[in-house]
Symmetry: C2
Subunit: 356 residues, 2 copies
């Protein structure tokens, strides 16, 4: 049995559960490496992956004997088989934050389980701490993102549309080893940059525009996330104060981030510094990054837990002035015992594109 | 109040529900036109849309007085407000196929509802029957798809990779009025075409390759879906029989499809004709298309219901020979009283690309 499944079996056993049904595909990928439709059953003695004919060949090719997972084609799983999986289990865990209410009821009926227990993001919490292999994949995704940023800074010219730039980013990612986008790229210029979640429009870049570019790719299942706000031709004087304030807080947060740092404390520091200057932090300061682009831990002043070594999180303060413009600066960051390492390494000083 | 919400209020009232919580964003878009994060509450007398500061301005711009929807920023909704929404409601509906188990429990606790009732895809079932405006949007998405297909047939040359072709399709869609892809485009050539769900690879097109292209775009929220299997330079003799058999069944199904036609019956016809010829229909024959790319009704021999006028569905038989090649031909189709209209109109005879 692989180490992650061993860990899970110990964990559920400590909580007096004798089995677990895992349906979230990201959790399945984390535990088994399998990236296919199906369901993972941890039973008293064995582990099963139930899938269909489309995937059985692929799944067999991913697994080794070491994984200790029996692959079943659902066409060959009878009603009795379903009832037998958890026959001697008093409590069986499930993912209450992923499974719909109707699937929950279907589980009860199909597996004839005495007690289907909530597992409170047990696997998601474990996923917060990345192992070496996971960190290497995120590093690679971040490297491709930095390369893409270099490329796109040369590409952006006054007159290009936000959509064209967003599309060029996607193309670069796909042509340079990424599987695809970690999320829909944001390219928001001029007034559009005042909306934190703007979608790329047909607006053309104009001289003096701040351009917020929020981008990330997926490499072997793992995500990157980086934002830079660049300027077309020149940096408008009105933007400098805001840019400096955002950057100061982004850098200050990097100095605070390390094993043991309290998330609420360093989030409050940014909120307070923004407030003193007359602004609000309207979104959270950051989030975990891994198989999901947004995963635990969520960094905001609502979260009173501490960072731990080998978490990978974003640090992304932003200020948005409605009807005017906005600035956000974001890195993907690896937490260490003594501090943190930014995995996205693009420049954060004033970046001017289309300089002529 | 708009007609769709009036319909919903009557529907839930007939089932002795006094309110409903709608969380599925596609259902919210269908009922209100709103395309933003939030939750729609149908209460005894009023309709509320709860959203956050990011979306309030946009939502107000989408709604008219006619919609009769009160927009609330969740920051201003107190614990008491939540409890008051359904104060005099005995039964309140929710979407058990969308809402997670933990959200279900949160609803119970937050709204203090006596009885949270399953609504059995009530809105999804209504969404099966499209109105004129919806049909016009799907027609437009299909038109863009046909134009894209024309363009891509000229673009494909021996030596181009599947990924390049898929990317060019995406680019065409985005440059020609579509918001984006309705699903990840499939471009599967040669042996890859034997996998119904292949993802575009770095494989180059070779002379004699069958190339299955499954593509669709989104226009104002509505999807299109079309598949053609084309051939590079020439049609290999070995492919002709399979192609003819798939096409025959695709056309036969179009002749069967109309208001009142039993889905099981015409699905079985294809299954049987394939079987007689030594093949299997390994996926379902089709599915509804609308705000979701895959929605009700699902067309297979498991479904014993009938088609109805103004449904929009796909007709997509396919044959896949493992290790060799595959053929799938698919149209998006509007069901009428007397028959059906194919909304994707690209040629279905042998299509040869890169003819020199």
């Amino acid at each position: 049995m692989n180490n992650k499944i061993k860990w899970l079996r110990e964990k559920i056993s400590m909580q007096n559960m004798q089995g677990m049904i895992i349906s979230n595909p990201k959790n399945i990928k984390y535990l088994t490496g399998i990236d296919a439709e199906g369901i993972l059953l941890i039973t008293r003695k064995e582990n099963f992956f139930l899938t269909d004919a489309r995937y059985t060949e692929y799944v067999q090719s991913v697994l080794t004997i070491n994984d200790g997972i029996i692959v079943n084609d659902i066409r060959n799983v009878s009603r009795d088989d379903y009832e037998n999986f958890f026959m001697f289990c008093e409590n069986v865990g499930f993912e209450e934050n992923y499974v719909t209410y109707s699937t929950y009821k279907k589980f009860l009926e199909r597996y004839k389980i005495h007690n289907l227990e909530e597992t409170e993001n047990m696997i998601e919490k474990q996923r917060m701490i990345k192992d070496e292999e996971e960190i290497a994949l995120i590093e690679k995704a971040c490297y491709i993102t930095d390369e893409c940023f270099k490329y796109i800074c040369d590409y952006i010219k006054v007159g290009k549309t936000e959509k064209e730039i967003a599309f060029e980013i996607e193309k670069f990612f796909k042509e340079n080893g990424a599987e695809g986008l970690a999320f829909d790229t944001i390219v928001a210029s001029g007034k559009n940059s005042s909306k934190p979640h703007a979608t790329p429009s047909d607006k053309q870049i104009e001289a003096g525009d701040p351009i917020t570019i929020d981008m990330g790719c997926i490499y072997k299942g793992y995500c990157s996330d980086m934002t830079r706000t660049v300027f077309a031709r020149y940096v408008p004087v009105t933007a400098k104060n805001i840019y400096d304030l955002v950057l100061k807080n982004q850098l200050q947060t990097l100095r605070e981030m390390k094993d043991g740092a309290n998330i609420r404390t360093f989030s409050r520091m940014v909120e307070n510094d923004f407030k003193i200057n007359g602004y609000d932090l309207v979104h959270s300061l950051g989030h975990g990054v891994g198989l999901d682009i947004h995963e635990m831990p969520f960094l905001s002043s609502n979260n009173d837990t501490n960072l731990k070594a080998n978490m990978v999180v974003t640090d992304e303060p932003g200020i948005y002035i409605p009807g005017s413009f906005g600035v956000r600066i974001e890195d993907t960051v690896l937490i260490t015992k003594s501090g943190c390492i930014t995995l996205t390494k693009s420049d954060k000083n004033y970046i001017v594109v289309d300089k002529n």
